[in-house]
């Protein structure tokens, strides 16, 4: 197990290296000038600015320099936020995004799994249709429309929660719900599918025949096996939360990473785009590792193998 983990971590670093290199070169293909005042500068002034940020050097030289800096934990300085180190930008903005993401992930998967289990246990009853409806609606309404509706009806009309901003716990509730609706529907759909499948398998029939209560059957015998495919979607789900956060942070005026990422793309702030990409990638690779480990814990039929043995 330890050897396997070490091997995986080595591979993670290699992956990260390739991701960084790939993103770096792709980024260089994007046309456009990163200086916000570019419209007003003449060619000479622009050339001097480019030299100041090292953008006049050949791409391989820039690449080597960037990689050396990354190894030392230096992600460069932002163009749009004059001279602010990217690491500092990320550090300051990650709080709200991480809070929202975690809350949405926990609330979303748990609620979704419960919904899916109920639907599967009471297949083709109103409870099944109800939970299907929730799951389907959660996926059917575009996230920005859903977020805006929540804001307008719950916050503006009813006044139950603050409309926007980020000043305390109550400010995170509506955004969390808006963000969680996607994990809820994904988890519920997958859970229902798997649960139904598992419930019809022989060992469940046997358990029932032996007189186990349906609660016991569902939670003690079926859930564990039905959870396996749900675990596989957790990774992509975590990434979808990143995409979702771009929308939700914008609608609820939350100073998070997602909003900053979109802005950076629009103004071509290379260092910030690169830095955020590296962070997202690292996060994703990490989640995949965790999922693989979880997989082996939940399903004993799958053995972690280091390749050769």
């Amino acid at each position: 197990m330890v050897g396997y983990l070490l091997k995986r971590i080595g591979l993670m670093l290699l992956t990260l290296f390739i991701v960084i290199s790939l993103t770096f070169f792709l980024m260089k293909l994007i046309p456009g000038s990163p200086f916000s005042a570019a419209a007003k500068l003449n060619e000479t002034q622009r050339a001097i600015m480019a030299a100041k940020y090292g953008l006049d050097q050949p791409v391989p030289v820039q690449y080597l320099k960037y990689m050396t800096n990354v190894l030392q934990g230096d992600l460069g300085v932002s163009f749009q936020f004059s001279n602010t180190p990217v690491t500092e930008l990320i550090a300051k903005r990650i709080g709200p995004s991480a809070t929202l993401g975690l809350q949405a992930m926990i609330f979303g998967t748990i609620f979704g799994i419960i919904l899916g289990v109920i639907a599967a246990l009471r297949q083709n009853t109103w409870m099944d249709y109800g939970s299907t409806l929730v799951a389907v609606l959660g996926k059917s309404i575009p996230s920005f429309v859903f977020a805006a509706m929540l804001q307008y009806f719950i916050a503006v009309r009813l006044g139950w929660f603050p409309v926007a901003f980020w000043r305390g716990y109550e400010y995170s509730i509506l955004p969390t719900i808006a963000l969680a609706i996607f994990p809820i529907s994904i988890a519920a759909r997958f859970m229902r599918t798997e649960m139904i499948e598992v419930l019809s398998s022989d060992y469940i029939v046997l358990a029932r025949a032996k007189g186990a209560s349906s609660f016991e059957v569902a939670f003690k015998h079926a859930l564990r096996n039905a959870l396996i495919p749900v675990v596989t979607v957790l990774g992509p789900l975590a990434v979808s939360l990143i995409t979702g956060s771009l929308v939700v942070e914008r609608v609820f005026a939350i100073p998070g990473l997602g909003e900053q990422f979109v802005t950076s793309i629009n103004v071509l702030d290379y260092p910030v785009i690169m830095g955020t990409t590296i962070l997202f990638a690292a996060l994703f690779i990490f989640v995949v590792l965790i999922v693989d480990i979880l997989y082996s814990i939940i399903d004993p039929r799958i053995r972690l193998s280091g390749g050769e043995n």
């Binding site: 060619e43 001097i48 100041k52």
Partner: protein
């Protein structure tokens, strides 16, 4: 193990719901408190606190590095330069003690600095603070973009310092003594004092800046202030919420009413309006055009015509667009009124000119720039078709295909679709290929002249028509459409040198240049002049906005009943 984690999960779900209830209660309490404030207290002890929404965080607080409106606005409120813009858009002395002495040629300005002006750390504001800031702005290593943009060609020696590495001391800005600043210009600049209200020209406390080094201006604590407010809570350029507190050391502190101003970054215009409606903020950011009609008759909507003009650039490296009749036909065939009434629908007005309305007035007569030239290139379908037919004949073809480079913002998208449709419907044989690209890509293609038609706009940085006129000089830094007219160049040269000290004559020359640009050359297609609309709570008194540079001043504002 398994049961335990299930329990944990249930507890988490429950706790989320419980916190949800908690959140609800406290929000209600807040609302009640707010209502209490509104009705219960009298005008005299209304808390002098204001809550404002901005569209972005503050990108920079180092005056020489800033290049965006939010930074400029903040600087305008926490720092101060020699001049300020008044509510009537006039430059008025601020740190300067009265008007400067100017030599006969209009090339040397001598400013006296107010004796009681101090930095918030107690240091007096000196002439050297200006010299230091300006020299820093022209040091290529500091990465200033507005420094060279505003100083080159105006302040003597600026170009040499920035481009050729001349010694900073050769710059034409000298501290004669602690409170006297002497500025030497390359040539007379009639609007020079209005430039002094622009944050790039603000002073910086040399000792403090050098002491902070790399950290200078990275957050509220590493800044020193000399304006009506200080930044009370600002955690650096990513902070989505920041506050001003009144600066008690400010020389005119007794005339500043507000104790505290809170700002929030809000990107979505609908969110801004929702927060305003819910009483969570007093002033919105500028409303998107879809929101304006909803507040048409609302007395709390403040609107003003901005001096920002949108036009279509015609790239004259394209063979068809070299033909004056083709250009004129294109310019005459767009129903601008329909565009502003139906699509923008936010009070913007059709532009039949290149220099905006209600922007500058003739220094001799006080007439608006627009009076003399009136409307040019007005929508005229008959004339457009006639010119089109003539142009096609001269080109010896009956079809023309043009690429139209548009913007990618929401209103730009609709505007582009409308204009493309108008051109194609009204001019037979014309095909428009619509291309929408992000802003930064558009700039690239603009520079490379990789377009036929391009929708673009321009907002000025200082109060002078030349900020629009010099865009179209042959090979000018922002021309980028291969437009070249000897007559136009000559008129601008006359205005800048021959009539440099005759403001009235200079003004008329620039008006003549505009006439040449549009009437004779049909070089661009002016489309519309934008109106700004924001919602301001009725309690807010003396709300003040500006046309150029910083957008708002908060020190005249007070909170009433």
């Amino acid at each position: 193990m398994k049961k335990y984690s299930l329990l944990l999960a249930i507890m988490l779900v429950v706790s989320v719901f419980m916190s949800a209830c908690y959140g609800g209660d406290s929000a209600e309490e807040q609302n009640e408190n707010n209502e209490g404030n509104e009705s219960g207290e009298t005008a005299s002890d209304v808390p002098q606190e204001l809550r404002v929404m901005e569209t972005s965080a503050i990108p920079a607080m180092d005056t020489i590095l800033a290049s965006d409106t939010i930074s400029f606005t903040t600087m305008n409120n926490v720092f101060e330069g020699l001049y300020r813009l008044s509510a009537d858009q006039e430059p008025v002395p601020a740190l300067a003690e009265g008007e400067p002495e100017v030599n006969e040629e209009g090339t040397v300005y001598t400013f006296k600095i107010k004796e009681d002006a101090v930095w918030s750390n107690g240091d007096p504001v000196t002439a050297n603070d200006f010299v230091y800031a300006w020299q820093r702005a022209l040091n290529p290593d500091s990465g200033s973009s507005y420094g060279p943009y505003l100083m080159e060609g105006k302040i003597k020696g600026a170009s040499e310092v920035y481009n050729d590495g001349a010694a900073p001391e050769t710059l034409g800005a000298v501290a004669v003594d602690d409170k006297t600043l002497e500025v030497t210009l390359e040539k007379p600049v009639s609007y020079f004092v209005s430039l002094m209200a622009f944050p790039t020209f603000f002073p910086q406390n040399q000792a403090f800046v050098e002491e902070q080094g790399e950290n200078y201006a990275s957050n509220a604590a590493t800044l020193v202030y000399n304006g009506p407010f200080v930044l009370d809570n600002w955690d650096g350029s990513t902070d989505g919420e920041w506050t001003y507190a009144k600066n008690t050391d400010y020389w005119d502190a007794e005339n500043v009413a507000l104790e505290k101003v809170t700002f929030n970054e809000v990107k979505d215009p609908q969110t801004a309006v929702n927060a305003y409606e819910a009483g969570e903020a007093d002033i919105t950011s500028k409303l998107s055009s879809a929101l304006v009609p909803q507040y048409e008759d609302d007395p709390n909507m403040v609107s003003w015509l901005e001096p920002t003009v949108f036009w279509i650039k015609m790239n004259q490296t394209n063979e068809a667009l070299q033909n004056i009749n083709i250009r004129r036909a294109l310019a005459l065939s767009i129903n601008k009124q329909a565009l502003t009434d139906n699509i923008l629908n936010n009070g913007s007005i059709p532009a039949n000119y290149a220099v905006p309305k209600e922007f500058v007035t003739n220094p001799d007569t006080g007439e608006d720039f627009r009076e003399a030239n009136g409307d040019m290139l007005e929508y005229d379908l008959e004339a457009a078709k006639e010119a089109w037919a003539k142009g096609l004949e001269e080109l010896g073809t009956d079809t023309v295909e043009l690429r139209y480079l548009g913007g990618d913002t929401e209103s730009a998208k609709l505007t582009d679709e409308f204009i493309a449709d108008q051109l194609q419907q009204n001019l037979e044989g014309l095909t428009i290929k619509l291309e929408s690209v992000p802003f930064s890509v558009r700039l690239d293609r603009d520079e490379a002249l990789d377009y036929d038609l391009q929708f673009a706009g321009w907002g000025p940085d200082y109060l002078d028509p030349i900020s629009f006129s010099d865009l179209w000089i042959t090979d000018g830094g922002n021309n980028h459409m291969a437009f070249s007219s000897e007559k136009y160049d000559q008129l601008l040269k006359d205005a800048e040198s021959t009539y440099a000290n005759e403001p009235g004559k200079r003004f008329e020359t620039l008006q003549e240049a505009e006439r040449v640009l549009l009437e004779e050359e049909a070089a661009i297609i002016p489309v519309y002049q934008r109106q700004a609309n924001i919602l301001v709570n009725e309690k807010v008194k003396d709300f003040t906005y500006h046309f150029v540079g910083p957008e708002y001043s908060y020190f005249p504002v007070s909170i009433g009943e």
